[in-house]
Every structure is written in C-alpha cells, then in structure tokens.
Symmetry: C2
Subunit: 329 residues, 2 copies
C-alpha cells in the first residue's frame, strides 16, 4: 500500500488499463523526492518499460506568443479524431509558473482538455534541469504504457530544457511567427539546428503573404546548411492553428518522417542512443552533485575560482587540487 492506498501492482494494472487517476498519481510519485516514493516509482517505471509500445514522441518549441497552446490544442484534436490517443507534457523554465500552472495549461488548451483520448499535464517541476528532465523522461514511459500513441512535449524555446527535450523525442518542431526580416530573433541559438521542421504559425488573414515570404526566406537560408546525420533536411511549413489550416500537412510530414526513419533504422537506433545518453548524462550529473555537496570541496571551490580568475593558478591545477581534496575526504 502506498500513499494512494494502492499496491504497486494495482497501480501498474491501473496504468496499463489507462485509468487516468492512477496515471496522474504515478506521475506525482515520480515527482516526489521521498526515497520510499522513489522506490515505488522505480518499480512502476520498470514494469511500464516492459510493455511493447509503438509510439511517437514530438517536441514542440517556440517563444511565448508563437501560439503553441492553440497549435497543440488543434493538432491534438486532429490526432484524436483519427483515433489516436494523445498526451501532452509542458515544461516551463520558470518554476513559479510550473508550480501553479495545471489549471493554466488546461485552460490554454481549450477543447482538447475535455477530449477523453487526450491527457494534459504540466511537467513536474524540479530543483535542477537534471531533475526536470529525469521526471519528464519517466513520465513519458508511464504515458506510453498507459496507451497514449503520441506524446507531445512543449517547451518555451528560450531556456535550457530544449536540448534535453530534443534528446528525448523522435521529432522536434519549432513553431514561429511570420515577421519581416530577422526571422529567428528571439529563438535561442542552436534551436534552429535541432528542428526537424519549422512551422510558421498565424498564417491567416493579412498575415498570409508575410508567412509565405518568411517561408521562402527560411527555405533559402536553411538550404545552405548541412543536412542532419540521418539525411533529413529541416522542412519549412506554414499554418494557422486558430483557423485550423495546414495542420494536416504538418501531420503528414511527421508521419512521413517517422516512416522514412523507421525504414532506414534510424528511428530505433536514435531511441537506443537516447537511452544510453540518458544513462551517462544522469551519471555525470550525480557525480558532480556529490562533488558540489562535499563540505570540503564546497568551501574550496569559490576560493580556487577566484585564484583562477586572478591568474594565480591554472584552471587545471585548481581542478586537481579539488579532486585531491575530494578523494581524501
């Protein structure tokens, strides 16, 4: 019996049966930092991982105002209308919003909230980027075991979480607005290179021409950049989430990407590589935390940093002094 008066087996069965209450409780357990909760969460995740699933993980990013919520709401409805089951996780770098945003996100996503085949949840907040990403990644496993076919992960396009999300999805979509010139201002450097598709939203009314022009310019610009290692070149599309125009084309592109990558073997090898990377990255993070938590090295670090900045010691010798202290203590 755990905090919810359910046995772990009950919870696993509930997830497999798509009992939404149990799914939510399981994700809350993942969020918990209590060791006893962690143990149950690990058991649940391991059971979830054993279930054979055929899912698609889509990352969607874009600066505030690009229309991400409307897009996801409409896009989600398009998918559920086709009989797909859709789960949406949103990650927000500002912890203040994350903490109180359940209602906020649900309001933002309009009718998708009421759809019985959709599940929306702000990603658990955490004290570190590592914490947030671990929890997001583990939430995906729960949602996939619960029978969701499409997992959408939304980020803000301005923080540190985009790389992490890019490393846990199959397809990464950048949503942007049309505007004259300087097309990618406001987007964090590096995000364009991660995108499998850039979609220019709000291509409606007076804005249609602007959007088409932006599409052309972006195509010309991105044409000059090397294709990704899987041979894919970033596609540029336009849409109007508000007027529900162009969303089917986007879905068609994503399915065609997924089919191509499944045929070439990249889809599978990419997921395999992502899992290996999570293992090593998490390990690295935790090893560093051990270092930062050690009282001796914690005290030494700011002093040695100052010595490095003053040019009294090389960064490498300073690091060696810290390592020596860590090994001794």
């Amino acid at each position: 019996m755990n905090v919810y008066n359910r046995t772990t087996t009950d919870m696993i069965q509930g997830i497999f049966a798509n009992d939404v209450t149990v799914v939510s409780q399981a994700i809350t357990l993942i969020e918990s930092t209590k060791p006893s909760h962690r143990t149950i969460a690990n058991e649940i995740i391991e059971s979830c991982l054993t279930k054979e699933v055929d899912t698609l993980r889509i990352g969607i990013t874009g600066v505030p105002g690009a229309g991400k919520s409307t897009f996801i709401a409409q896009f989600g409805k398009l998918l559920t209308a086709q009989g797909k089951r859709v789960a949406v996780l949103t990650i927000d770098p500002s912890s203040s919003r994350t903490k109180g945003s359940i209602l906020g996100d649900k309001t933002r996503m309009g009718e998708l909230v009421k759809d019985p085949n959709a599940y929306i949840r702000p990603s658990p907040s955490g004290s570190s980027l590592g914490g947030v990403t671990r929890k997001t990644r583990e939430s995906i496993s729960i949602l996939e075991a619960a029978g969701y076919d499409i997992i959408i992960i939304e980020t803000m396009g301005v923080g540190q979480s985009e790389t992490a999300v890019h490393n846990m999805v199959d397809f990464f979509l950048l949503l942007k607005l049309a505007g004259a010139g300087d097309e990618l201002q406001g987007i964090k450097r590096g995000i364009v290179e991660m995108a499998d598709a850039i979609v220019i939203n709000k291509a409606d009314g007076n804005n249609v021409q602007n959007a088409k022009l932006a599409q052309l310019e972006l195509k010309r610009a991105l044409h000059m950049f090397p294709p990704k290692e899987n041979g894919w070149s970033t596609e540029i599309l336009t849409c109007s989430a508000l007027e529900n125009i162009g969303l089917e084309t986007i879905w068609h592109l994503i399915t065609s990407y997924s089919e191509t990558m499944k045929k070439s073997g990249f889809f599978k090898s990419n997921r395999k590589e992502q899992n290996e990377n999570w293992l090593l990255q998490y390990l690295e993070q935790e090893l560093l935390l051990d270092f930062y938590r050690n009282p001796t090295t914690k005290k030494m670090l700011p002093l040695l940093k100052q010595e490095v900045i003053s040019g009294n010691i090389s960064p490498f010798s300073a690091a060696e002094k810290l390592l020596e202290a860590l090994r001794k203590s």
Copy 2:
C-alpha cells in the same frame, strides 16, 4: 634539474626571454603524462600566468582543402610584418597525423616557418579530447608568457575539438570555399553558430564571381539568425590567401571586434568565464574518469547499458545502481 638539465627557474626565465628551445621543451613537458613532469609543468604554467600580457587568441577552422595552411602562412606574415609576434598551434583529430606532423605542418606553412617572429607547433596529441584541450590551453599560457601577441589555433572543422577551441579563443574564424549552392556542406553542424566571421577563401581567378555570390547568399542566410549574446553578428568576407588579397580587411575586422569587445567589457568577462568553464569542465571530466576506471563499475556498465537498451530498466535506475556501486567501492 629536470629532463632537459635545466632548473625550473631556468626554464621560466628562458620562456620569459623567448628562448624558442626552452618554449618547445616546456610544451613537451606539458605533453608528458609522467607525474614528475606534470609537477614541473604546473610550476612553469603558474609562473607564466603571473605575467601581464595583452594578447589575442584566434581560432581558425575549416574542412580539409579550404586552404587553412596557406591562409595562416600569409596571415601570419601580414602580422609579423606589423611587428607582431605570432604563434600557431594546430590540432588534428587524427592522432596518426598529429604524431608525425611536425615536419608536415612546418612545410605546409611555407615562409612563416623561417620568420623569427613566428612559432609553429602541432598541438600535443593526447588519448582524450580532454587531454588535448588541456595541453592546448596550457601551451597558450606558455606562448603568451614567451611574448607572442597573437596565438592562432587551427582545427579541421570536422571533429570534436572545435567547441573546445571556440571556448579558449577570443575570435573564431571559419574558412570555407566558394561553391554553387549548399554553401556549408561538409562543415560540422554547430560550427556556423560559433563563427565570429566566415571567410570565403580562394576568391581569385575564375572563382571571384562564385565567391561574391556565396558571400551574398551567406549574408542573407545569416542575417536571419539571432546575433550572439555580445551583440556581434557573424561577418562574411572573401579573400585569396594564395594571391594575398583581402587579408588586411580580415585583420581590420578582427582588431575592430577586439576593440569593440574590450570597450564593452565582454573581452575580459569572456576570458574570465572561459577560465571558470575550464575549471569545471576538467573537474567533470576527471570525476567521470574515476568512474570509468573503477573496476566494479567498469564491469557493470556494459551489462546495465544492455539492460537499458532491452527496456528492462530505466536509464536513471541503471545510473543509480552504478553510483551505489561506486560509493561502496
């Protein structure tokens, strides 16, 4: 007395007096992995760091065939003709070439080799990227103390060392060839975003028109990307290293960059941040090496990786098992 029959004090004095033989010996000591050599090297570096210097560190990258050697040879001569003292370090990801390339590099760089105000040296090879970068970074300190004003670091544009080099220089230049369309094919993804300038080389003879077209296209493409955090937008220039055309404009651009960044304070704060990053990155690397060297975890890692790939365990639980084993042993 060390391996060269010199005291450490003698060596430091030799470096400060720009005795080229001693400079080379000091860099060889840095390359050494013997603990006794390491101790002397650390002493030498710490003395070198105390010397006030006013230097400029320039990273130059480009795929094989872009004409890097000719460019550096001509550019170096331009600088020495102005009374500057120039040191060139080359980093090559293929260790085979690095090991036997001293003569190769010196031949490649033509007349610059004979210039008494120039110093050329292939960067020490190492078993890991961390090793190579530590040694390159420390070699820079030696060369700066020896009175070189401009330190040029050359990489191949295709490996892993570009990010490391970008993080140890003040200005990062990407050298490329003109070609119709697909302008940046062959360049590793991410390098364009690091470049402070992209220079289209071999803009001579029949190629001048091509180069100008490529310049125009690149300008249009890069205009759409956000400027760097320091406010700088990547400049696109053309040159012919072979015919010595356009090199003064490039030097003018670099000095104007350097002046702007010194005025804004970015130059100094960037170097400070780079040093802090070296400290933390090196620390991280060494902590990971401890993990990889541990016999218990070394044995467990491949097995757990397999479990993660088979979906029997989450990447995070696998990492925790490894950490537990490491802490116990």
